[in-house]
């Protein structure tokens, strides 16, 4: 039973209004995967950051597009894919600058990726031009 891979998918219109639904989805998946409260909170925030990037940057606020969140887990690993159909917004291409520097320049961009990298074990991005783009994140599961 424990070795069976379980898959969950959420499709929502690309709007920040749906971030709450996305967070509840991923929270439920995290609990089902056996993550502790702390790790569920980290997962929730990392996925929020990824989806916010898609909604605001990749889809540019176009609510006719969908944000797709796929979650898969087995006994060892929880994998999240956030799929967009935008022009390809690779968050890794945003330079990681000091918060002090961003403040001095009155900018606040690029924080989301830093948060994702801090909270998840791996973050990667795959651009498929003219098709779909996938941000992948993984979290190792600890079994007591």
């Amino acid at each position: 039973m424990a070795s069976i891979e379980q898959k969950f998918t959420l499709h929502v219109p690309s709007s920040t209004q749906n971030l709450a639904i996305i967070r509840e989805f991923v929270t439920n998946v995290g609990v089902q995967a056996g993550l502790g409260e702390d790790d569920v909170a980290k997962l929730e925030l990392a996925v929020d950051e990824a989806c916010t990037n898609v909604i605001e940057h990749a889809h540019g606020g176009d609510i006719t597009k969908d944000v797709v969140v796929r979650a898969t887990f087995d006994e060892k690993m929880l994998r999240i894919e956030v799929v967009d159909s935008g022009a390809g917004f690779d968050p890794a291409r945003i330079p990681e600058e000091d918060v002090e520097r961003l403040v001095a320049q009155r900018r606040s961009g690029g924080l989301g990726l830093r948060v994702m990298r801090s909270l998840m074990d791996e973050v990667s991005y795959e651009i498929v031009p003219g098709n779909t783009n996938r941000l992948r994140m993984t979290k190792r599961l600890r079994k007591d």
Partner: protein, 122 residues
């Protein structure tokens, strides 16, 4: 709305207190932005942000703090943050906000910081 957010405003002497409640994300951040802009427009630049009732924050919410702090300090004011729950505080710490903002436990401690240092270098 399943994850509500509210900003409540009050005044303690010359200090404006903005109390945040609920979920501060990319959807609700504009509401917080308008609240801070309203204080600046009214010439009130000594702000305490009380996060005791803040249950969740994403980088969109943190971005609001960042986008106003320089302007507020140039006007001789500051944003001092108080009351954050550990789960929320952790996100501020990941991004190194402790180097830029005074973060204290209570509203009284934040008011005390204003008495000691009305503004601060970033």
């Amino acid at each position: 709305m399943p994850h509500p957010f509210a900003v409540l405003r009050s005044q303690e002497g010359t200090l404006s207190v903005l109390s945040l409640e609920g979920y501060l994300d990319a959807h609700t951040a504009p509401q917080f932005e308008r609240a801070i802009q309203g204080e600046i427009d009214a010439g009130r630049v000594q702000l305490i942000v009380d996060g005791a009732q803040l249950r969740y924050i994403s980088s969109a919410g943190l971005g609001v703090f960042m986008s106003f702090i320089e302007e507020i300090r140039e006007k001789g004011g500051d944003i001092k943050i108080c009351g954050l729950a550990p789960k929320v505080r952790q996100i501020f710490d990941i991004l190194g906000f402790h180097a830029i903002y005074d973060m204290v436990d209570t509203r009284a401690a934040a008011a005390m910081r204003f008495a000691q240092a009305p503004s601060r270098e970033g």
